[in-house]
């Protein structure tokens, strides 16, 4: 491992303390001390939205970031965007009537530090075969949150189940602990997690995990566990690729 790199994953987490606890134990053991961690009422919309909208840049301050919680796909077109988009709701128990919704286009993920962002939540990339797909509209109009600095953004193109074993499988795969190199890339680890944590359902009901990435980043490992390639400059989001994984059905 090279010195001077900030190998610090942030864990922004909502309901599942088990995932929080295991991740904040597992990643430091891999050489990735936690840059930040938040839970429930300590998560704020400002942590995710871009600085030009009042964000605090928290999400872009770590190499690898994870969000676990709720997210949803909108059905109605946002006039200023020309299409529907996905949202992450922030709820504060002290202000029960207030819910802050952070839209996909309100986020800008990626910085000199932040290279990989994962969202273990539903429908952020909602796409066919599910009804009311929104992913292609967001991508075609350059409205995904991924920037040229972020190598890979990961989420689900469908509903999903939050499984406590996520926090075992994801770090295990990222640090090369499965014995199968294909599971150890950033893309492979996300597929592995879907395979290990999502219910085995048939046909169009199966949950679909998705990694969205710049083509040259397909072989990325996280720092210290293999090589990675910076995205070429002057990209448009139409050049992004999508890697989907469906949990093997019954």
């Amino acid at each position: 491992m090279e010195r001077g790199l900030r190998r610090v994953p942030g864990v922004l987490i909502s309901p599942l303390r088990m995932i929080l606890q295991r991740c904040t134990r597992g990643f430091p053991a891999m050489g990735y001390p936690c840059q930040f961690r938040r839970g429930d009422d300590h998560c704020f919309a400002q942590d995710l939205i871009r600085p030009s909208l009042g964000g605090n840049g928290l999400f872009n301050s770590a190499n690898l970031v994870l969000f676990v919680g709720h997210s949803a796909a909108g059905k109605e077109t946002v006039l200023s965007l020309g299409h529907a988009q996905s949202y992450i709701p922030f709820y504060n128990s002290g202000f029960s009537s207030q819910m802050d919704w952070v839209g996909m286009n309100d986020m800008r993920l990626g910085s000199a530090t932040c290279k990989w962002a994962a969202f273990y939540s539903c429908n952020l990339f909602r796409d066919s075969p599910r009804a009311n797909p929104i992913y292609s509209s967001m991508k075609n109009l350059d409205h995904l949150a991924i920037t040229e600095d972020l190598h890979i953004m990961q989420a689900y193109a469908s509903e999903m189940s939050v499984h406590p074993d996520f926090s075992k499988h994801w770090p295990t795969a990222l640090h090369g602990g499965t014995g199968v190199a294909a599971n150890h890339t950033v893309l492979g680890a996300w597929r592995y997690v879907c395979d290990r944590t999502q219910p085995k359902e048939s046909g169009t009901s199966a949950n679909i995990s998705r990694s969205v990435y710049w083509p040259e980043c397909a072989g990325d490992f996280i720092y210290g566990y293999g090589p990675q390639t910076d995205p070429f400059p002057d990209r448009v989001q139409g050049e992004l690729l999508e890697d989907d994984q469906i949990a093997p059905p019954q």
Binding site: H169, V180, K200, G219, E242
Partner: protein, 326 residues
């Protein structure tokens, strides 16, 4: 008569002590969380099969050095077996990792897990082949589903398996499934969204000796083989556990299952609202955990699936119900 009665009672007690019910953690991993009570339940499934509900004990996996070496040789992996690192999810166990003279983090390996008895082969080639300059895929020669199945059946002897060890459908056909891993992209020439297949995966399930169907969690009770460009074998995982019948559970009839569902006894990996549920299928399944988990018993469950209507949407749902002990 009294003596006989006592003896039977003792046997029964001893039997019960040997076959524990699954614990809370077992249940959560095998069949998800307990659901709430179902308000309206319609039954549109056929009659239940009259099959014995057998409980199996899993025999402790034993490492066989010669078998691992033979497997490695057959799959083109060279090297000597050594203890796999304790940080591996399937540890403890042994593996043969082929020496890689470069710093490339891809490697060939075969492994055996003493935790689950699983065998894994991993190839050293990335399936992602992409022309960066022209923005198009370079993948070619990924086998068709039928070709991949034929190749996979040829692998069975390497794992000391025959087709008799594989589950069959009610019609007597081999139970198998095929999935593909693909990448979607926007084709620059016509602006259309397209998908190319990087790898094809074939799945075969372990036959349950007393009937019923294997329900695989993350590859448990399953042999899965994957093929990439030029038909190359990329990965195999075989998690066939050795099973020994040690007890039985009580059969449930349709009314008992309906009552149990209404009481909220069932479990699911989903969180359905359960206001208006229609069951379209009900069968007997035996869940097995992935090769990363030690499992001591395989218990029977009734698997009920169907759809629920809530908030104007119709959703597919699946529930699992543990029958009472015999």
């Amino acid at each position: 008569m009294i003596i006989v009665g006592v003896a039977v009672r003792l046997i029964t007690c001893g039997h019960a002590a040997l076959v524990p019910r699954p614990g809370k953690d077992d249940l959560r991993r095998l069949v998800g969380d307990q659901i709430g009570d179902v308000k309206v339940l319609n039954w549109a499934a056929g009659d239940l099969e009259a099959t014995n509900l057998v409980i199996y004990k899993i025999e402790a996996p034993k490492y066989n050095r010669e078998q691992l070496l033979t497997l490695a040789k057959n799959l083109g992996v060279t090297g000597e077996p050594e203890r796999m690192p304790s940080s591996f999810s399937s540890a403890p166990g042994y593996w043969i990792k082929e020496a890689n003279p470069t710093n490339r983090p891809w490697f060939k390996a075969v492994s055996f897990s003493e935790k689950s008895g699983s065998y894994v082969f991993a190839g050293d080639e990335d399936d992602h082949r992409w022309d960066l300059k022209n923005h198009r895929p370079l993948v070619r020669g990924v086998p068709t589903a039928d070709e991949a199945l034929a190749k996979t059946l040829q692998l069975l002897p390497m794992f000391n398996l025959t087709t008799n060890d594989l589950e069959r459908t009610a019609e007597g056909k081999l139970r198998w499934r095929c999935t593909t891993d693909g990448t979607t992209y926007t084709d620059k020439t016509d602006g259309k969204k397209k998908r190319f297949i990087r790898r094809i995966n074939v799945m075969l399930w372990q036959r349950m000796p007393g009937g019923g169907s294997t329900f695989s969690i993350g590859g448990g009770g399953m042999l899965e083989a994957s093929y990439i460009s030029d038909g190359k074998l990329a990965q195999v995982e075989c998690v066939f556990r050795k099973l020994r019948p040690v007890g039985t559970a009580k059969l449930m009839n349709r009314n008992q299952i309906i009552q149990a569902l209404k009481r909220g006894d069932a479990r699911s990996f989903q969180m359905p609202s359960c206001q208006n549920l229609t069951i379209t299928n009900c069968s007997l399944v035996y869940p097995q955990l992935s090769g990363d988990h030690k499992q001591s018993f395989v218990w029977p469950f009734y698997a009920a699936s169907g759809f629920e209507i809530g908030d104007g949407e119709t959703n597919y749902v699946a529930f699992y119900l543990l029958p009472p002990s015999d």
